[in-house]
């Protein structure tokens, strides 16, 4: 009896683990409620939504794996919270969003978070501009960075804004060689239809 119960528990665990690790297809078209938030966008091609969450307000889409191309949606991260789940709150805390952040503070927050969370030792902010999303001003910035674990040069393009004291941001990142350019136009089309 005990043996059967144990087997049943194992089976349920395996099933739920399987479900938990399953990624899902993001079909072309309109999507709302992205990152469990008010973010909406329209994608032109297929993407995969990772079941892994890097934080409670984060959703990641990829085509070839998130180390090769990655769109991250940050859906209204509130004041006092980090943009990612902290791996080690005591020894390596992450910088926090503050409600009175200005738009130029957003790239700095991203850089500081990457340096702490991903051992990014080289980060270069390359351009910054203003865009408007549904009448709200947002910052559009491009950057490049290198993670110490693979030392691959990656490029990034992002749009972020502070709406009612919360951070909304979408980033696109991929290795500078080949991959960044491959999906850049699809990301830009998504960015054009973005709603926070």
């Amino acid at each position: 009896m005990m043996k059967n119960a144990f087997a049943a528990v194992c089976a349920v665990s395996l099933l739920s683990a399987g479900a938990a690790s399953a990624n899902s297809l993001v079909a072309p078209g309109a999507h709302s409620g992205v990152a469990k938030s008010s973010i909406a966008t329209t994608s032109t091609g297929e993407w995969n939504k990772l079941s892994r969450t890097d934080g409670p307000g984060v959703e990641v889409w990829t085509r070839d794996g998130d180390s090769l191309n990655k769109v991250s949606f940050f859906g209204g991260i509130g004041g006092g919270l980090p943009i990612y789940r902290e791996r080690n709150k005591k020894e390596a805390p992450l910088p926090k969003v503050t409600a009175n952040m200005l738009l130029p503070d957003i790239p700095v927050l991203l850089e500081s978070t990457y340096r702490s969370q991903y051992q990014v030792n080289k980060f270069s902010l390359e351009s910054q501009d203003i865009v408007t999303i549904e009448g709200k001003q947002a910052i559009r910035f491009t950057y490049s960075f290198v993670r110490s674990d693979d030392e691959v040069e990656r490029k990034g393009e992002a749009i972020g804004s502070i709406v009612k004291g919360k951070l909304f941001m979408v980033t696109y990142e991929a290795p500078a060689i080949y991959f960044f350019d491959k999906d850049l136009q699809d990301f830009r089309k998504m960015a054009e239809t973005l709603k926070f």
């Binding site: 992450l94 738009l103 978070t113 340096r115 030792n121 080289k122 390359e126 351009s127 501009d129």
Partner: protein, 403 residues
């Protein structure tokens, strides 16, 4: 062999542990330098293996995007190493400066020395830098990597056998599993003790290099005092108990820092030598790179450690524009209302001292605007745009200014 405590890097190799560690323990260095063999070649199968791996790592390192390739800086750091260990020993080293903001240096068995930029930010003078580089060279000269790999292999097989035997004992109901765990723990402990003994041996041989160099041997102890003070400042700022980063640990690969500082001081005193620190020369050599090193430190989200470093740097030559700007950034990024006031004051001080970087006006403006002082903030941002008309964030700043 790495200079600082790299516990996380060691954990994955936890299976590789040596009971034989004590038997292989390296005796403290003799008061005279060992005979040095130039162009030494690996002698055994093990040694050829680790050299081959080190050669491959060096090929990757040579192409790394994280290398700081400035010829002047590389030549200067190399010159410090050569003064410390002597020209003949120095010729066997290829030195690479790697852009990593933490405190560390390491040396591979084939003569590859890695110096992290965090070390360059933290040492106060050439003598402190020389003591760290000399310590790493001592690992190389004592061929600790080879002894380490043997110790790990001995321990790995021993730990595995203990695991097999204790599992067998548990299966036949003798209750031997607990004993097996205890034994495995003893193997672990012995391996880390072996590693700590290697560190001590390298410390002591490093002091012998210092004794023969122009540098002051007291610097070897001083660097550990600074590292502990920085760790305490970091812990306190994070609401943690001071001392947690360097307390004695069963699994510590390096001796506890207080103990290390104490025996280095005692041994340095025995040498009875007062050498040079060359603090001014060091500051001059590092000055062109200081803004870059400080920027990486400030953005590492370590308020307490960064503030300690800035205070220490200012103690030698006062609050320069570079240091005031970095400190302003530190407070602005933390971003409490009081921090924004402090940040604005620091940026104003930097500007008053003739700090020419237009970014000071930008950061001043952003601090004031975030603190609610819009008119003054906009004025500072306009000044930034005037000084840097082609700024890559010009449109963003113009939007804030309202033009």
């Amino acid at each position: 062999m790495s200079f600082c405590r790299r516990f996380s890097a060691v954990l994955p190799g936890i299976a590789a542990l040596a009971l034989a560690g004590a038997a292989h323990a390296v005796e403290p260095a003799a008061p005279v330098l060992p005979t040095y063999t130039a162009a030494y070649q690996p002698q055994t199968k093990d040694e050829r293996g680790i050299w081959m791996e080190a050669d491959e790592d060096e090929r990757v390192l040579r192409d790394s995007v994280l290398l700081m390739r400035d010829e002047g800086l590389n030549a200067y750091v190399r010159q410090v190493l050569c003064r410390e260990v002597g020209e003949d020993r120095c010729r066997s080293v290829r030195l690479y400066i790697v852009e990593v903001p933490q405190f560390n240096a390491s040396m591979a068995p084939n003569g590859t020395m890695r110096v992290w930029t965090g070390l360059l930010l933290r040492v106060q003078n050439e003598a402190e830098l020389a003591s760290v580089l000399g310590h790493e060279f001592a690992h190389f000269e004592l061929r600790h990597s080879l002894a380490g790999i043997k110790a790990r292999r001995d321990a790995a097989s021993l730990a595995a056998w203990i695991g097999v035997l204790s599992a067998g004992a548990a299966n036949i109901g003798t209750g031997g599993a607990g004993n097996g765990s205890t034994l495995q723990l003893a193997v672990l402990g012995n391996y880390f003790k072996f590693s700590r003994e290697q560190e001590t041996a390298a410390d002591l041989l490093g002091l012998q290099y210092m004794a023969k160099s122009p540098y002051d041997p007291a610097a070897a102890s001083q660097i550990w005092q600074s590292i502990m003070a920085e760790a305490d400042a970091r812990s306190v700022a994070r609401g943690l108990k001071p001392g947690r980063e360097y307390k004695a640990a069963f699994f510590g690969t390096h001796p506890p820092s207080p103990e290390r500082a104490a025996y280095l001081k005692a041994e340095a005193d025995k040498l009875g030598k007062r050498g040079e620190l060359r603090a001014q020369e060091y500051r001059e050599a590092i000055r062109p790179f200081l803004p870059r090193l400080l920027a990486a430190q400030i953005r590492s989200n370590d308020f307490g450690g960064s503030e300690y470093l800035l205070q220490t740097l200012s103690a030698t030559e006062g609050w320069t524009g570079d240091l005031l700007f970095a400190r302003g950034e530190l407070f602005r990024q933390r971003g409490n209302p009081r921090d924004l006031v402090t940040a604005a004051d620091l940026f104003r001080d930097a500007i008053a001292k003739g700090y020419a970087n237009p970014e000071a006006h930008r950061e001043l403006g952003l601090s004031l605007m975030r603190g609610g002082q819009e008119a003054d903030g906009k004025a500072a941002l306009r000044e930034y745009l005037k000084l840097k008309p082609d700024a890559n964030d010009g449109n963003v700043i113009k939007m804030l200014v309202g033009s």
